[in-house]
Symmetry: C2
Subunit: 352 residues, 2 copies
């Protein structure tokens, strides 16, 4: 009953000194990390140095498995290409996948707002059922609460997924080495910018859409092609690629170098980011993942990804180096370079 | 991966025809049942006849275990004798206990309201940590989201618990027989009335308080004393004792007779119920449970309960009969009798 992956985190101990919770604490960047490492982890996990993993590996009765939980508070409930129900299933499937596990069962709870139309609710339950069937996950139970009108943006959904471990891969920041390649499964920022435009708060229009999806087939392809060459994976949701890689840099104590011209970004995402002064590397993604793969197997992993449906736009976007230790450097199109930090503040609230 | 307890529910198929969600759909009574059986179950579980169990029994890699999930939306966050954090841990431990399982690990997610004070949050995280330690449960992971000020009543907490099965007992409505005794672990209604008074909406005062607690030691005592004589257990939370027993009556097709003078009710609860026109059997409980035990082992189970700290007020409150099939009859102090139905409507919103 006690063998979840524990890393010794090498970064500084974080203190949580803010007097109250702000939106930024939910945005997945530095403020979120302060909240988790400075308040939740010391009290709940008995350690200030618990890494922020997507899923915990545990064993019950001798069976090893992975478990993950997420609450979804996306607004609007339905956006071009997806909806909260789909996202709630696929987000959990994907957190398990990047921890090296195949989702098998799921429990779901709903906090519903009084006055929510049955048609809206039914559509989201159906979306969950469809996504679960597609991902081959069984929903085995759940709970429903109702809160007063005005309290819950229609609905909040929480999903917990449990799955068995994939054979032959071990996701562990300690196994990352200089020279390892950084793979990305597809274009960055589509999900975050799609939600931003769908909210209509900004006077921007675009024809972006992003289908939430299970990345398990893509993770499976990488695992089959590169096996023990797969060092680490993560789905760069809140806080984007930059935050995920900064967390890894901090956890493994090494540096990351990204080649800007190798990072796939759609024109619509690039345009919106330029207008708004955002970095696409900070925009949230769903249905994409980062994989660190040993150099001799990186091309095999890339080929496997690109030949799996939905992985055609995968790229090797950078590599692990000794320096800059604990940081992420982007070499730009024009030969320069810049450090990209974790997300600070909250440019895109409520995207998952 | 596929052997959760499935009962063939004998009652009528429920349809969900309401155009929108109302508070009553979260109150745990008839409206909740219509929502779950008429909308959630057919879409998510592929069946309109899934029973409403506290936890699902599944196996992963050959290991059998129980899993349960609950969202907690109680208002106020702190009430005399307890708080949302304690409740979130103990409620999940207790749902596992009455399904015949010992909680081992837990994942927790928070939806926080922007503007929530850190002091308030920290107190609830500490309450969770303390309750988890007391119940010998490890919290292995979680997630935090933040929503705008005005939403989420400070915080909503969702907990998922997983545990191994207790040896020697099998909780199954199909095993209930006429003549079996109905045990109750302590007084009814303390939690619901405590919350009601703490909300201060009503011009009532009382000195009631109710400490939320893990019932696993009490369930353990019953399991050791009565073993395979334990047919069925449930913690009668939302909807109270009357709703839980009506659900059992429906699931097993038999009748229940309760002896009103044997049901423990504190004076403060009885007084508040009389003033408000409520039936104590409809008031929510936390930290109590019902057990159906075969007649030859019922006294042993009762003695074991009463000699376990916190079980001193346990009673045998009734028995299973062939008639009235599918219903719950209460024989009153004065020799009369009345049918007690499931909770209808929502007299006590947001109690868990």
């Amino acid at each position: 009953m006690s063998d979840e992956t524990k890393l010794e985190v090498r970064g500084p101990i974080v203190k949580f000194r803010e007097p109250q919770i702000e939106m930024a604490h939910g945005a997945g960047g530095k403020a979120s990390r302060r909240l988790v490492e400075g308040l939740f982890a010391p009290l709940l996990f008995g350690s200030q140095r618990q890494p922020l993993n997507d899923a915990a590996h545990v064993s019950i009765d001798g069976a090893r498995m992975a478990i993950t939980a997420d609450s979804f508070v996306v607004k609007p409930l339905v956006f071009p290409g997806g909806s909260i129900g789909e996202l709630a299933v696929n987000g959990t499937v994907n957190d398990l996948a990047v921890s090296g596990a195949r989702a098998e069962i799921m429990v779901v709870t709903f906090v519903l707002e009084a006055g929510l139309s049955t048609v809206t609710l039914q559509a989201q339950i159906q979306a969950m059922a469809d996504a679960a069937q597609k991902a081959n996950v069984r929903i085995v139970g759940g709970d429903t609460k109702v809160v007063e009108h005005g309290k819950a943006d229609g609905m909040y959904i929480t999903t917990t997924g449990i799955g068995g471990l994939l054979d032959g891969i071990e996701v562990d920041a300690r196994s990352v080495h200089p020279g390892d390649c950084i793979l990305l499964s597809g274009p960055v920022g589509d999900h975050g910018i799609t939600i931003l435009l769908a909210r209509g708060d900004l006077d921007l229009e675009g024809d972006l859409q992003w289908d939430t999806r299970s990345i398990l087939p893509l993770v499976d392809a990488v695992a089959r092609a590169a096996g023990s060459g797969v060092r680490w994976m993560r789905d760069p949701t809140r806080g984007g690629v930059a935050t995920s890689l900064n967390e890894l840099a901090r956890d493994c104590g090494m540096g990351m170098v990204l080649f800007e011209d190798a990072i796939p970004v759609r024109d619509g995402v690039r345009g919106a980011c330029e207008l708004l002064g955002l970095d696409p590397l900070h925009i949230a993604n769903e249905g994409q993942f980062l994989a660190i793969v040993s150099p001799e197997l990186a091309n095999a992993a890339l080929t496997a990804l690109q030949s799996t449906p939905g992985g055609e736009e995968a790229r090797i976007i950078g590599e692990i180096r000794d320096e800059p230790a604990g940081a992420v450097l982007v070499t730009t199109l024009y030969g320069g370079s810049r450090i990209v930090d974790m997300l600070v503040g909250d440019p895109l609230p409520r995207i998952c």
